[in-house]
């Protein structure tokens, strides 16, 4: 059966430590956090809660490439530098990318960023170099609280599928209709955003 690799992220476990960001930089030789960033569910910007003192609410939200079923970035790219593999992993061919950034604007998740030094667009590649060796993406094995789970979403017996079903994990911005392969377990306050 065809595989579709994806992630299920438990927002009840994410403590906002940014280890995934640093781990991604290490693994993928990225000077800046092009791969995964940790945003905040709550107030307007990072590390800010919603509510008024002392009734506050805040959670953390790792954002990365959603490896969409129908990636708008792939359609937006005028030079065909973005492709989707059989297993669902969406990749930017850094050799072909001319840095036009049409894809950056097309992504509903802000998951692509322009690397000014190299004039190319970079994003999470789901650590394809590891996945092809049968390993999990680096952020998954680095997460302090084991909040990120990786596996085949098509296999109902996989750990990701089970976690997704058990916790009712959903996608971010479902209205965008791109079919993300990254799912989030809601917080106890029921929020994903």
């Amino acid at each position: 059966m065809k595989k579709r690799f994806g992630l299920v992220i438990d927002l009840e476990r994410c403590i906002g430590c940014h280890t995934c960001t640093i781990a991604c930089q290490l693994e993928n030789d990225m000077e800046a956090g092009f791969g995964v960033r940790v945003e905040t569910i709550g107030g307007g910007h990072r590390d800010t809660p919603s509510g008024r003192h002392p009734d506050l609410s805040m959670h953390f939200l790792p954002i990365l490439c959603m490896h969409c079923q129908e990636p708008p970035c792939m359609e937006a790219c005028p030079v065909g530098a973005i492709s989707k593999r059989e297993d669902g992993i969406v990749l930017v061919d850094e050799g072909m990318c001319d840095g036009c950034q049409a894809c950056v604007a097309s992504c509903p998740y802000g998951a692509l960023s322009h690397d000014e030094k190299r004039n190319i667009v970079r994003k999470c590649n789901l650590c394809v170099q590891r996945v092809d060796k049968g390993l999990a993406p680096f952020c998954v094995v680095c997460c302090e609280t084991e909040a990120i789970c990786f596996g085949d979403l098509m296999d109902v017996e996989s750990a990701v599928s089970k976690l997704k079903a058990r916790r009712g994990a959903g996608v971010l911005r479902p209205e965008a209709g791109t079919g993300p392969a990254v799912f989030y377990c809601p917080t106890r306050k029921g929020r994903i955003q």
């Binding site: 403590i15 906002g16 430590c17 809660p49 609410s57 805040m58 094995v141």
Partner: protein, 723 residues
Amino acid sequence: MVPTGACHDCGGRCVLKVHVKDGVAIRVETDDTEEPQLRACARGRAYRKQVYAEDRLLFPQVRVGERGEGRFERISWDEALDRVAHEISRVKETYGPEAILLHTYSGSAGVFHNGVPTLHELFRALGGYTSGWGGASAENSTFASRATYGTLTTGNTRDDLVNSRLVLLWGVNPATSIYGTNTMYYLAKAKEAGAKVVVVDPRYTETAAVVADRWVPIRPGSDAAVMVAMAYVMVKEGLHDKAFLERHTVGFDKFRDYVLGAEDGVPKTPSWAEQMSAVPSSTIVELARDYASMRPGALIPGFAPGRTAFGEQFHRVASTLAAMTGNVGVHGGGAAGFERGPVGPMFPPTLAAEKEGATYEEQLRALDVSRRLRRRFHFCRMWDAIIEGKEGGYPSDLKMAYIAFGNPLNQFPNVNKGVEALKRLEFIVVHEQFMTATARFADVLLPVTTHWERNDFARPWLSGPYFLYLNKVIEPLGEARSDRDICRELARRLGVVCPALELPEEEGIMEMIRLMGDMLDEIPDLEAFKKAGLHKMALKGPQVSFQMQVQDPERHRFPTPSGKIEIYCQRIADLGDPRIPPIPKYIEPWEGPTDPMRGRYPLQLITIHHKTRAHSCFHNNPWLRDLEPQALWLNVQDAAARGIKDGEEVRVYNERGETVVKARVTERIMPGVVALGEGAWYSPDRKGRDRAGCPNILTKDDYSPGGGFPFNTGLVEVERFTE
């Protein structure tokens, strides 16, 4: 692939596996062995950026500008060592060895590459030195735990949290301050197992946001008052475990008299505590009922509330509550002492000998006060000790400072006084990896290696259950040398014999491990340990301190003179210090609620730990810096009253100094309290005004009677900054 670990100034000890190609560390992985793994946090991961940092100090330098100005010139190692050796001899011969201030701390220290077996060894051989006492992290907890339990080994292994029905995190934020690698992992597990988690903290911390069912904001310095009022509720409602108190404690009756007001006419009611704490009395009642009824419950007292004036009382009353609720020595409970785990702790679990040939009974009586009886100053008073010397009642007139494994100018209270003090000395040597605030004041600045450039081993501060061997990953960069190599070179130049420094590194490490009996019992094959880098102790499930004492008190005594938990501590009474009562009490701190200073400086300052630094380590790491920028946390109401907007530069000041930093206007801190992350590198502008937001510009250089650094006691005012 080289197995090593992260071992900077942090209470966690995690596994790093570093891939090396052509002598260069290229990749870092972490523990991938069986669960639960000892995974590194962002700091451990970013260590490669630290080792290869562009601003690493890579050759010896000598000062050419004014002291503190930061202008240096490169010199050879021979010139540098000759110069240092000459100055040591000169100061020693002119003024005596006591004129040498030796300061080593925990900054870049492992167990072997550490101040004690290196610099202290050298200066002992040279005839002595003057140094200080006092742990900046947890001295008040140390004092209280020794008084109440007779030991620091009072904690349960973190995996025991899954057995708790209630977890009460009091002034502790393990999401950022990793005291015990995996603490957050087990907290998440505890919550998933159905525990109720309550966080008591002036800030809505990451821990409060992610795991807490309830956040209770509390004014700094009032923690003991709230806990005393919880005891009041328990006694009034008869919720305390009378059988446990009867069997296992001494002095509860005296404490009860204080709580009910029989002693001083003031019943310590919830509304009494509400006045100073801003915790509603109804909340205090609920906290008391929850903790007394949701058993087993783990009260985890952080070190932060203890880092206040009279913070030892917070720790003493926390342990008393643990006893009142019968949570000592049981799974899922906790003694609320120092929290060091029952197996594989940082130091072998023996009491330090008070004097040669002391009997066990004498050791028990010591309460570790010997340190203050020796000729030492408290580290909080290091600057006064330099400035005032013998005239001020300090042990000696200091002429020279030798500083390694630490950044005291930045990390000890009252930076401005520190600047004045360091300018008075005749000579200063600093070992450093980077141009820190302290390094800028060196006359000779010696570049030292990082953990990846030397072999060492690690025992987790909190406790294991594991040990790490830190294998050397790469050759030292530039001309950097280990602190130990520098000491050996100096010993030779000064003509003294230090056999411990002459042993080859790995032989020395193995010798040290052999001397630690408990580690050798656990690890018979040291070569295999070195090769694997990690030894996890095989345990049958979670471990609990004092289990035997509680199950079989006839045969297992608590290691106190009475053999019981000492709510009333005779050894404290014997100290005769009116500022430390023998039963725990709330004592109003200086710069507290009724201090007249409040008129001018109405805001309470706390100095918090950032998730991107381990004290002042990692401040300059570009990967981490941007993730949590230095800023003053200020509540929306306090900001509005001062016309301050989020992101604007503000001046934070009191009579000790001023610092300029951006404001972070947030609901995550309670009104009346402001917070600045400790560890930001002091950076004075041309007017001498700090522009980095280093909080120790503002902290008071005095210490709590229990020995604690009162970093979280202090008043300030904040205003919009204009040049």
